[in-house]
Amino acid sequence: MNSDSVITRNEPKTQHLLRLREVSFSYLDGVETLHNIKLDLAPGEFHCLIGRSGCGKTSLLKLAAGLLLPTGGEVVWNNQLLDVPQNDMGFVFQHPTLLEWLDVLDNVLLPISLHKKINKQDTEQAKNLLQRMGLVNSFHDKPAELSGGQQSRVAIARALITSPRILFMDEPFASLDAITREELQADLMDICAEHKTSILFVTHDIGEAVYLGDQVSVMVEGKIHRTLTIELPQPRHNAIRHSPEFNRYSASLRQAMEGAV
């Protein structure tokens, strides 16, 4: 991040951690994938992006993380223009993307071992995180020996090992069965509430978005069509999924998704 890119405009410094201002993006073919996106994320906020396949959710997530650069507008991270991923960001991909030649512990420690020598404290922290994710007996297993749900847990632990201020998640639970998915959702909410981590979470599952999100943005054809604030009580438990308010939020999100087409 360049020092001259510090935002110096006359506007009050907000408490927003991440701001996307009129962001547009086109891939090399020139077709605009995202148009005029405005999105603010406060510290500790859980923001879900929901939409049909191909609506630009993943592109938006990568722009917010600094993996892609906008063709128009700007992405502001911590009051500075973002041009590359930062060390206080974590990313969980759709697939666990674990390195199959490393064991679970080394996979979790990868974000640290790329930048410094691993010490005892780092190893302890990784073990604690894995324990917290319910992987006590798998420290030295190779990823291939784990189930899909366990691999996702390792990927989340790897993203959390550097105690990031924000976590970007790209449909991380899409390929898991319903029960494992619900368990992971609950664990994720607990850990992030504990560390006050902000989350930008891409999903195409309406129920998942309502259960997890403080805010849910509906994306349609590269635009944010509507943003809904979910005012369900925290902490959320599984029973909430059957409450009338939950269903009301789900229905209005579905309506927003369908109505926009």
Partner: protein, 247 residues
């Protein structure tokens, strides 16, 4: 189950050898054309026990070793360079392919002119043969890394070297090792063919010498030695690979 399959593999070999032995005796085939397996075994045993074969085995082993080392290293390093740089790839790949489509046997006389008679032309020939499978597989591996893992490394702010050493090479290793196994097998072809033309010592040179003196049983005995050494080197690489890379 595994033992049973080993038994049948062994049994097929025994049946073939017995049939060979019986046919040779029944048809009264001349030893010059097709010696019986027992005759070959006899010659092999004698030439091993009286020390006649050992200097030749040692010579070929040495050439194979240096050929694999030099050719393999060049293939691996070249593969990384070409895999990493699109520019270099488009610039040099036609020449690499060119170097491989030229029949290497036809190059052997030139190598004798350039490198003299003896170990060096054979090592160069072997290296040239070992070079390509490693280069090809390394280039392919470098380009087949999972794009999400590359993005992960970008997200973790890994530099180019870290991405190479900690992602691209380890993830390409099964492919690179497959190329290495092919190189190890081909190395024996390179060394023996090199010795046919450019050496008076080594197993290839011995086959030519045996042919000159019409000693067909010795030719077969040397062929057996080359086969056993070739298979052994392949197995050693396999064991090494399992022990160190996928344990």
């Amino acid at each position: 189950m595994k033992l049973k399959s080993y038994f049948w593999t062994f049994a097929i070999g025994v049946v073939c050898l017995t049939a060979w032995e019986i046919l040779v005796h029944l048809l009264g085939t001349s030893e010059l054309v097709m010696p019986a397996p027992t005759r070959i075994a006899d010659v092999l045993w004698k030439s091993l026990s009286n020390g006649y074969l050992w200097p030749h085995i040692w010579q070929t082993l040495l050439e194979v070793f240096w050929g694999i080392l030099l050719g393999g290293l060049m293939g691996f390093i070249g593969g990384i360079a070409l895999g990493e740089s699109k520019h270099l790839r488009s610039l040099l790949m036609p020449y690499v392919v060119l170097s491989q489509v030229v029949p290497k046997l036809a190059l052997a006389p030139l190598f004798i002119v350039w490198f003299g008679f003896g170990v060096l032309p054979t090592v160069v020939m072997t290296a040239l043969i070992c070079f390509f499978p490693l280069l090809e597989n390394t280039v392919t591996s470098m380009q087949q890394v999972d794009p999400q893992k590359l993005e992960l490394f970008r997200m973790l702010r890994a530099n180019k070297w870290q991405t190479l050493w900690r992602l691209k090479i380890p993830s390409g290793l099964p492919n690179i090792m497959a190329g290495f196994r092919v190189a190890v097998v081909l190395a024996w072809v390179g060394a023996v063919v090199g010795e046919f033309i450019g050496s008076s010592k080594g197993l290839g040179a011995l086959i030519i010498a045996a042919q000159g003196s019409m000693d067909t049983p010795l030719m077969f005995a040397v062929l057996v030695v080359i086969t056993v050494l070739g298979i052994s080197s392949y197995w050693i690489v396999q064991i090494f690979e399992r022990r160190f890379f996928y344990s």
